[in-house]
């Protein structure tokens, strides 16, 4: 397979969606290329099996962008995606989301689960997730996180899946997304208004049938998903139907998704992309600022840091919670996916700087004082994403100032770790304290 073969196909998908289905302006720039974030990150979510939360005003294409991307890339007809969607509302039940008992079997005294389409297919869309009451959000925690769906005494494990959830801005009908659930999302993207000129052209060409619909394949897939066969067998049969739908798309729409094996290869290629030293060190610096507390050892949402701390100028002073271990995983996956898409050999600072704000935006809990200070600033992004972008650039500036010294400090850390007699470097950033902790040069405070 020639280099860039899959990337070319994915660019084809991007072009098809942006020219025909989801008309919007490019709103991100990376390495001189401009893309629309909702489509671009949607594709990366599909490719790396990520979990993306899409926010935006009603009717601005949050759900549809996810449906199109998932449908084309996984080659599931749009009707099946629609039929597998879970919508968030107060009366939603576990039986509709995950599965229900097979009533026929139950009448005969046997317990058997009929899994929902949502739990079975690899493209999962949860519409308006923040309309699910907080108590019911816990039902999907495990599924969102690991693709494990439990019902009665049975478990269905998705070996491959991606998940999109949409959320409206706060109104009377919405609830807060609970912290453990929101942390499980890798990425936060806004589906933006396309501007009046593009908006005017949307829907201009009335269509009788949506180009991504394929009633025959949809019918067959529904039959397979409803069937009694074991999950693995069902998925193998579904893949055959997806192959036919893929052929249909290729011939009629000129766009090619990826089959399961191709998706696996792409994932493998992505995971093989290493981080260059700058990207590596910069992510460490970001994580240090988001988890460090000079007084209490680490950030904890129940502990407020003191005024007048030496590290007042750093982000740790402006936030309440601690970065979870899912954060570096999200950063890694998405920056590798981005580097892969752009056909770069290594993940570098530009990939990282683009990806980090979207992985942070929904995870950081800012202090109220910081929020009120920043609230009135002019911006183009939603407040959360804006703050995360600002934070990333602030840390990047510090990184630029200290780059050489930080790399040396990390190198010294390596030498000390392998037993060399060497003093760790002191510096004015939490990362230097963390390096000392890792090499045992600084005693943890006694509890």
């Amino acid at each position: 397979m020639k280099d860039g073969y899959y990337q070319e196909r994915i660019r084809g998908v991007y072009d098809y969606i942006s020219n025909n289905l989801y008309l919007n302006r490019p709103d991100i720039e990376v390495k001189g290329e401009h893309f629309n974030s909702a489509i671009m990150f949607g594709l990366l979510t599909c490719l790396n099996g990520g979990k993306e939360l899409i926010i935006g005003e009603p009717g601005l294409g949050k759900t549809t962008s996810a449906e199109y991307v998932g449908s084309i890339l996984y080659r599931y007809p749009l009707g099946v995606i629609w039929g597998s969607e879970v919508s968030g509302h107060p009366e939603q039940t576990e039986e509709k989301i995950i599965g229900r008992p097979d009533l026929g079997e139950l009448n005969q005294g046997k317990e058997k689960v009929v899994w929902s389409n949502f739990a079975q297919i690899p493209v999962k869309v949860v519409d308006e997730i923040n309309r699910l009451p907080e108590t019911k959000q816990s039902m999907i925690l495990n599924g969102v996180d690991r693709g494990n769906w439990e019902y009665l005494n049975e478990i269905l494990i998705n070996d491959e899946y991606c998940l999109f959830a949409t959320a409206n801005y706060q109104d009377r009908g919405t609830n807060t997304i609970i912290a453990p659930l929101i942390d499980r999302f890798d990425f936060l993207v806004e589906s933006r208004h396309p501007g009046p000129n593009i908006a005017f052209t949307i829907g201009k060409e009335a269509r009788l049938n949506h180009p991504l619909r394929h009633p025959q394949s949809e019918k067959e897939l529904h039959q397979v998903l409803r069937g009694n066969k074991p999950h693995e067998e069902k998925m193998a049969l579904a893949e055959e139907i997806c192959d036919l739908y893929g052929e249909y798309m290729k011939e009629n729409l000129g766009v090619e998704g990826l089959n399961k094996e191709e998706r696996r290869k792409v994932k493998e290629e992505m995971m093989g992309i290493s981080f260059d030293l700058d990207a590596n060190a910069f992510v460490r610096m970001v994580l240090a600022e988001l988890s460090f507390c000079h007084r209490y050892g680490q950030k904890r949402s129940v502990e407020a840091c003191e005024e007048g701390c030496h590290y007042t100028g750093y982000l740790c002073h402006h936030i309440k919670n601690c970065a979870s271990n899912r954060l570096p995983i999200s950063v890694r996956n998405y920056s590798q996916a981005l580097a892969w898409f752009l056909e770069d050999d290594e993940v570098d600072l530009e990939h990282i700087r683009l990806a980090i704000p979207y992985t942070l935006a929904h995870r950081i809990q800012w202090k109220d004082s910081y929020l009120s200070k920043k609230e009135g600033e002019g911006r183009n992004d939603p407040f959360q994403i804006y703050l995360a972008k600002e934070a990333t650039e602030e840390i990047f500036q510090r990184y630029n100032e200290q780059r050489e010294y930080l790399l040396e400090a990390l190198a010294v850390g390596n030498k000390a770790f392998i037993g060399e007699e060497i003093s760790p470097l002191d510096g004015d950033h939490p990362i230097y304290e963390e390096i000392k902790k890792d090499i045992g040069a600084k005693d943890e405070k006694s509890l």
């Binding site: 590596n280 040396e408 190198a411 010294v412 850390g413 390596n414 392998i418 390096i435 890792d438």
Partner: protein, 232 residues
């Protein structure tokens, strides 16, 4: 426990190098090579700090300049840098405008770029012999004034002077075009056999012209009824 710093094992001893440092270093190296070539030319051609402007000395100086430039990779910016170095006594110990002009012409003629622009408005020295033997498919634009013997022996190129020139401009040129935005001095086009000299301002005086065309403020001043071709 796994070493979390393993990826930084090669960092020690590496010196930080920002792209600008690299560019500056390479620029300095190139300028130093160009200056060496110029000094070599002076040592051969102007041992007693005297250089007599003669047909044969120009040809000889040019061939030495050509040899001095062999193997040097440079751009139009480096030529400009050299021109400004002529103004600084710390870099050019002694300036003789004749060989300097021959050397600059050789630099322009052998540059990779087809179009070269030299921004020389702030240059105090008026370089002689600019555009000597400028070959076909080359365009040299000089922003600023130039000295004597500009564009002599022009060989098909296009020389544009965004300023004024002095005497003997275009002398002996064979083909090509010289455009001067402002004025020219005496003996303009002396011995030229072909090509065009277009002057936006005034020409103090024409030389003995064999062929070609000279325009002054859009009027053809050679050949015309008052000025006939000269036969040597």
């Amino acid at each position: 426990m796994k070493n979390p710093f393993e990826s930084f094992h090669q960092v020690g001893g590496r010196k930080r190098e920002i792209p600008l440092d690299k560019i500056l270093q390479s620029k300095e190296e190139t300028l130093s090579k160009i200056l060496n070539g110029y000094e070599h030319l002076l040592k051969n051609e102007a041992k007693d700090l005297v250089w007599l402007m003669q047909y044969s000395t120009v040809i000889k100086a040019y061939s030495i300049a050509e040899k001095g430039l062999e193997g040097i990779e440079y751009t139009a910016e480096d030529i400009e840098e050299f021109c400004y170095a002529l103004d600084r006594s710390d870099q050019i110990p002694y300036l003789i405008t004749g060989p300097a002009g021959v050397y600059i012409s050789a630099l322009c003629n052998y540059a990779k770029e087809e179009e070269i622009t030299l921004h020389l408005r702030d240059l105090n020295v008026k370089v002689n012999l600019t555009g000597y033997r400028l070959p076909p498919n080359k365009k040299l634009i000089v922003e600023g004034n130039v000295g004597d013997f500009t564009g002599i022996g022009l060989d098909g190129g296009e020389l544009i002077i965004e300023g004024s020139g002095k005497n003997y401009t275009g002398a002996g040129m064979k083909r090509g075009k010289i455009i001067v935005r402002h004025n020219l001095g005496f003996n303009t086009g002396h011995g030229m056999t072909g090509g065009e000299i277009i002057v936006g301002g005034r020409i103090k005086g024409l030389g003995k012209i064999v062929g070609g065309k000279i325009f002054e403020r859009e009027h053809l001043v050679f050949p015309n009824e008052g000025v006939k071709p000269f036969y040597f």
